[in-house]
Symmetry: C2
Subunit: 154 residues, 2 copies
């Protein structure tokens, strides 16, 4: 069980962190480049949540690099509990942000036809930002599940 | 670890299923009683997702009753895997539905001021339905975590 792919301090774990960071940063860039996003709470929350996710993933990615270079073992009960809590909090916040942003984008596009009525509204960028946020969530969920599985089988 | 509160076939497990079913049904009732909710994809998705959650919880609740009355043990690897998959799928769908509905409600109330402009819009009921959906999600998340923990420690 301790040989699970994606555990902290391995190249698999580092790949998961890199994926989280890249997609969170891409989501922030797409949303920040859309003029007028600050008028919508769901999109501001997406930026805040993806920012937290990017910072957390960057920190854990650096820790993975340190463990890989110096061949340290990160699978200690205290560290694992910390990783589990952090991963679950960031994963849940990211997923909530992605879902609420997607709900608002669908409303704009399909329900209220705001995108058709107001061509100035950057609906395409809102969509891309939400899509990147969902991609970030899949990597984040993978990390959170691996951590929880490792903690449960310690 | 096998004595974890809320495991299937115990009164704790039955309480979790009852909570899920009650709040999912309450969310459906609140949303269905709001006229015009069918115009919004996020609210239709909330009804569908809460319906699935209610059916799943009702089924598992009946199984818990059966196990409690006949003193059967439900903690077998095959059954647990089935419960884990079902619980995670319903929990994720419910949370996504609750978040997207909440995103749209916040947009209506705080960002676009639809609730103030159109007093016919039943914003209060939309809010109550989203709140019940989040309560349902907390019970659902508890079940999903207990199941995953039990499966990991089998």
């Amino acid at each position: 069980m301790a040989e699970l792919a994606g555990r902290p301090g391995t190249s698999g774990g580092l790949a998961l962190r890199t994926g989280q960071f890249v997609f969170a940063a891409a989501s922030i860039c797409a949303m920040a480049s859309a003029p007028g996003f600050t008028n919508y709470t769901a999109f501001c929350y997406l930026i805040a949540s993806m920012g937290l996710q990017a910072l957390w993933s960057l920190g854990l990615g650096c820790l993975d690099c340190y463990a890989l270079i110096l061949r340290r073992d990160l699978q200690q009960a205290f560290l694992m509990s910390l990783f589990v809590v952090g991963d679950w909090v960031t994963a849940i916040l990211s997923f909530a942000a992605a879902c609420s942003a997607a709900g608002v984008v669908v409303l704009f596009k399909r329900d209220a036809y705001f995108c058709r009525r107001d061509p100035q509204l950057p609906c395409g960028r809102f969509e891309v930002a939400a899509a990147f946020a969902f991609l970030c969530c899949t990597f984040s969920a993978a990390s959170a599940l691996v951590m929880f599985w490792l903690l449960a089988s310690l």
